[in-house]
Amino acid sequence: MFIDSIISPQLRLLDSFSTTAPYTMSKPILPSRTLLSSLSQNLRASKPSIKPQFFSAKCQQLSTRANSRMVEPARCLREANAARIGGRNWGAAQKRGYKTVQEQRSRYRSGPFSALAGLLFLSSGAALIFYFRYEKSRMERKRISEAAKGVGRPKVGGPFTLLDQDAKPFSDEQMKGRYSLVYFGFSHCPDICPEELDKMAVMIDLVNASPVMSNLSSENPEAKKILPLFITCDPARDTPAVLKEYLSEFHKDIIGLTGTWEQIKDICKKYRVYFSTPENVKKGQDYLVDHSIYFYLMDPEGDFVEAIGRQHSPEVAAQVILGHVGDWKR
């Protein structure tokens, strides 16, 4: 142990070749300077430290038995060194079948790299890059769809139960499973609502005629058509019969919804719609209702997607709707 720690690798190497080689090798070899240096580099790189377990059992026996004689452990150490070096370098080289010293030198110069290792490195690198890119884009899509669920966006919409134009109850549950377009207005509207409803009719036809809708993977044929809803802001005058008469002029698909003043106030609040219907109006009184004019696009889960304003032409609005429909479940 003590001797080993003070012998430098080079010294030990020279030792093993000049003095102990004849003990281990069958014929003496005079190594070239370059081979020596390459071997010594290798040795240095591989942490030269000899621990007791590297000695052969015979040597250990010797050293313990002849402890008083200093020569014996030293010789034994040399033997062990030579055996190690010879076994590692020469033995390995012979097994791998190096024919020339040059071949072996080039093997050491290139280190552990080979064409196969390079190929493995590049292919695993490429696979990793591909995998990370795929994961990144998947997470990005997930983030967008999560954002539409109401995180960081206004939560528009909610449960309601109103009456349709046939005086049958209609609730938000019937909106589930298909895209719907919600519009708030009133039938005695002077000019904006009729214009918007005419636009809505064009939008409905454009959207329903699109292959994006017919390609939706749903068993329900109704889901392949958009559900247009007209919710009145003027429940006092817009009874189911009035809505039926009024909406039949625009599009057969539009469902008109009405209810009590409180119900309408509640749904307008849920959709963030401003409206100003006088609460107590006398029968036959003539008045107007101020209200927000937006089309609300709601997804098949009843979540708000986008508000479409008056600035869009029906064609552009239909494009906007179809863009969202095309993103669904993708």
């Binding site: 005086a167 039938s187 005695h188 509207c189 002077p190 000019d191 904006i192 009729p194 214009e195 636009k199 005058r237 817009d238 009874t239 189911p240 019969a241 009035v242 008469e245 009024y246 002029e249 036959g284 003539d286 008045y287 107007l288 008056r310 600035q311 032409s313």
Partner: protein, 120 residues
């Protein structure tokens, strides 16, 4: 014109729906109202009247026939609404012109509702 002057107090009473509420003006009734409105406003334009509520006497003298036709074909709330909107649009256009004269840049998109008869 004979139709307009026949009932100067308002449009014919609305039909009552099956559940007792008056039915809103239908497409043809709306078109008639808008037509009468455009005729009235054309007359006001000719006489340089913007605010037909503020300048009631002047408007009444200059465009009495058109005014009657307007009122005959539109509900009174609609008449007031259109008259107020005319003033609002006039002021809006004036502001826009002023801004343009000051070198403001126009942005794409429409500001406010379109003018009467104008299709978006």
């Amino acid at each position: 014109m004979g139709f307009f002057s026949s009932s100067p107090t308002g449009p014919p009473a609305p039909k009552i729906s099956t559940d007792g509420a008056p039915i809103a003006p239908d497409r043809s009734q709306r078109a008639m109202c808008w037509e009468a409105r455009d005729a009235y406003f054309a007359c006001l334009d000719k006489n340089n009247i913007v605010d037909s509520i503020g300048e009631k006497d002047k408007a009444g003298k200059a465009c009495s026939a058109e005014g009657k036709g307007f009122e005959a074909n539109c509900a009174s709330s609609w008449v007031t609404y259109f008259k107020k909107r005319r003033v609002m649009e006039y002021q809006r256009n004036k502001t826009l012109e002023k801004l343009k004269a000051e070198g403001a840049q126009e942005m794409p998109g429409q500001i406010g509702p379109p003018g009467p008869g104008q299709r978006p």
